[in-house]
Symmetry: none
Amino acid sequence: MQQERRPLGRPRQDHKGKPTKNIILDVATRLFLEQGYQVVSMDDVAKKCGVTKATVYYYYKTKADLFTDAMVQMMIRIRKRIFDILSADKPLKERLLEFAKAHLQATVGIDIKGFMKEAKNSLSSEQLQQMKETEDKMYEVLEQALINAMEKGEIPKSHPQLGAHSFVALLTVGNYKDADQHPIFPSLDEMAKQIVDFYWNGLGN
Amino acid sequence: MQQERRPLGRPRQDHKGKPTKNIILDVATRLFLEQGYQVVSMDDVAKKCGVTKATVYYYYKTKADLFTDAMVQMMIRIRKRIFDILSADKPLKERLLEFAKAHLQATVGIDIKGFMKEAKNSLSSEQLQQMKETEDKMYEVLEQALINAMEKGEIPKSHPQLGAHSFVALLTVGNYKDADQHPIFPSLDEMAKQIVDFYWNGLGN
Amino acid sequence: MQQERRPLGRPRQDHKGKPTKNIILDVATRLFLEQGYQVVSMDDVAKKCGVTKATVYYYYKTKADLFTDAMVQMMIRIRKRIFDILSADKPLKERLLEFAKAHLQATVGIDIKGFMKEAKNSLSSEQLQQMKETEDKMYEVLEQALINAMEKGEIPKSHPQLGAHSFVALLTVGNYKDADQHPIFPSLDEMAKQIVDFYWNGLGN
Amino acid sequence: MQQERRPLGRPRQDHKGKPTKNIILDVATRLFLEQGYQVVSMDDVAKKCGVTKATVYYYYKTKADLFTDAMVQMMIRIRKRIFDILSADKPLKERLLEFAKAHLQATVGIDIKGFMKEAKNSLSSEQLQQMKETEDKMYEVLEQALINAMEKGEIPKSHPQLGAHSFVALLTVGNYKDADQHPIFPSLDEMAKQIVDFYWNGLGN
DNA sequence: GATGAATGAGGCTTCATTCAT
DNA sequence: CATGAATGAAGCCTCATTCAT
C-alpha cells in the first residue's frame, strides 16, 4: 500500500528485492510510455528485466494484458499523486501550480488519447473500457477539487469537467519544443506559472 | 532454369482522374491519422489504393518517406485552411470560433506530438526535422493572428507562442469522450463556443 | 480486437539425436557451398532442416551470421583434416598425394575467395576479418609442413607461403570439366598424381 | 515531394559516342565482375548507364541474357589479348611472364568457375553451354602455345591441357591477400616472376 | 529507341504466443 | 517459477519482368 518515497533523481535499474511481477510491470510501464505500445516488444520488456519472454508470459497472458495493467496501475498512481497535491490546505491556485510543476517534471507526457489510438486495434473492448474508466477517475479528482473551490466561492461556478480537461490539456503545452529544440519558456517553473496564470484567467477569475 | 511466363507489366491505363501517387498519399494520410504510424502497414495502404505494395514502393522508397510526406503535406494543407479562416475580416473571437468549429469537425485530431513519439525511432533525423519545421509553421499562422490582434489592441499583449499552443491544446479537449462515450458537451458548436470562451478569458480579456 | 487461438508452441521433443542448431549449421554449410551465399535463402535452409525460418533465426540472428559460422566451422574442420593428413610419418610427396586425393574427393571445391567476393557487401567487416583469419590458419598448416620438409632437406628451401597457396590453387584444376563435361583426366587418382608431380617439379625437386 | 529535377546538370559518366547497347554491356560486365551475378540488379546496371531499366530490357531480354553476353564477350576479348601476348616472337618463358603481368594487373580476377556456380540456377543450359565453350576456347589459346613450344623442343612434352589450366590456376595466387591485407609478394612484378619460375619448374624444365 | 508505371514473387527479419521441461 | 525451443503470421523492402505510350 505504502508507495515508496522516490528520492529525487533518476529511477535506477536496481531491481533488488522486488517481486518479479512488479519488476516486469515497472519496466513495461516505462518502456510503453517512452516508445508506445507497438514499438515495445515482449522481448524488449523481458530483456530489460533480465528474464526471458516466457517469464513475462507467465505473469501476463498477453501483451495487451501487460499494457492494460501497466497503464491502469500508472494512472492509479498518478491519481493518488494528484489527489495528494490537491488535498493540501492551500489556495487552489497554489495547488494547481504544484500540480503543474509535478506534471511537467515527469519525464513522460501522459498522453492517454495517443496510446489508446495506437493500441485500439490490439486491445479487447473490455481492456479499452477499463483504461477509459481509470482515466476518467483521474480527471474526477481534479474535477472534485474544482467543484469544492466553486462551492467555497474560490472560483466562479462553471463546468468542472471542462475545467479539468482544459487544465490537463494546457499542461501538454509545456512539453512542446520547436524545430531547434527550444521550449516555449526556458525554465519549467516559469512554464508552469504561465500556464496556471493563463488557466486561472480562463476560469474567469 | 526455365523462367515461367507471368502476366505482369503495366495494366491498361485506368484513368480515374487522380494520379496514383496522389491516391497513395491521400489514403496513407488517412490511415496514418486514424491508426498511427506503426499499425498501418504498407500493404494496408496498397490494398486500400487498389494497387500492390510494389507500386507504393515505386513512389515512396520507404514507409518513413511515405509517412513524412503524408504528414508534411497534411500540415501544409491545414496551415492553409487556418490561414484562410484567420484572414477573414472579423473580430478575432469570431475567427477563433470558426477555427475551433472547423478543427472539431475534422474527424482526425492532429496530434503531431503523439505521432512523433511513435515514429521517432523509425524516422531519420532529417525527416523528424522536416516534420517539426512544418509543424512550427502551422503554429506560426495562429501566432501571427494573435500578434496582429495585440497590435490592434483587440487583446492584451501577452506571449503569442504560448497563446497559439494553448489554443490548439484546448481544442483537443473537444475530442474527449468518457467511458460511456459521452463527450463533454453534446454538440460540437456548444463545445467550440465553450472552449473559445474559456480561451478568451485566458487571454486576459 | 480478438486474437485467434493458434496451435503454436514447442512441439513434443523430437529427439533424432543431433541438436537442431547443428542440423541447421550442417545443412547451411552444404547449401552455401553448393550454391553460394546469395542464392541460398533462409527459407531454403529452414525447409531442408524441417523447421521454420523463425527457428533458424532463433539460432542465428542474421543470414550473414549463419554464413560466417558455417564457413568458419567448415574451415576449422578442413584444417584439422589437413593437419591429420600432413602429420603422417611418410615422405612429403606421399602426404601431398593423399591431401590431393582427399581434396578432390570432397564434392565441394573450397573457393573462399569466390565466396568472399560474393558476400563482401553483405558481411560486416568483423565477419570478413574472422573468415580471413580462419582461412589463413588453414594455409598455415600446409606452410608449416613445407617449412618442416625444407628444414629436413626433403625439398629445396623456397617461399613456403607461395608453396602452400600454389598447391591449393593447383588442386582447383582437378574440378575443371570442359564443355562436354569431361575432366582433364578420367580418374581422380590419376588427376591427383599428375597435379602432385607437377607441383613437386615446381618446388624445384 | 517533388523529384523532377532531371533536365540539366547531371554529373553522369561520360559514355561519349558509344551506342547504348555497348554502354550497357560494358557497364554490366564491370558490375558483374566486381560484385557477382546475384548482387547486381538490372536497375543497378541501368542507373550506372544513365538509362532506365526498360531500356536495358529493350536490348537484353533477360538478366541471364545480359550476363551471358557480358561474360562471353569478355572472354573473347581476353582470348584475343592472350593470343596477342603469346604470339610474340620471344622465348615461351618471357611470353608467359608477360601474360602473368597482364593478368595480375587486371583489377578483376576472372573466376569463371565461381561465376558459373553462382549463376547456375538462373541460366538456361544453352547459356551455360555457351559460356563453357567460350571458356574452353580461352584455354585453348594457351594450350596451343604450349603444344607449339613442345614441338619446338622448348619445353618437355607433357599434357598441354593440364599445363594450361595449371598456369591460370597459379595466377590466382597473385590475388591472395592475408587477413592484414598483405599480398604474398609486395610487387606485382615480383609476384609474376615467382609464379612463372614455379610454373616453369613444374613443366619439367 | 526509350521510358514510366505496374506487378507477383520472394527474401530478410521480427514478433506474439505456446508448451514441454 | 522460469525457461528454452519452436512456430505462423506478418512487415519491410527488392527485383526481374512486362507493357502501353
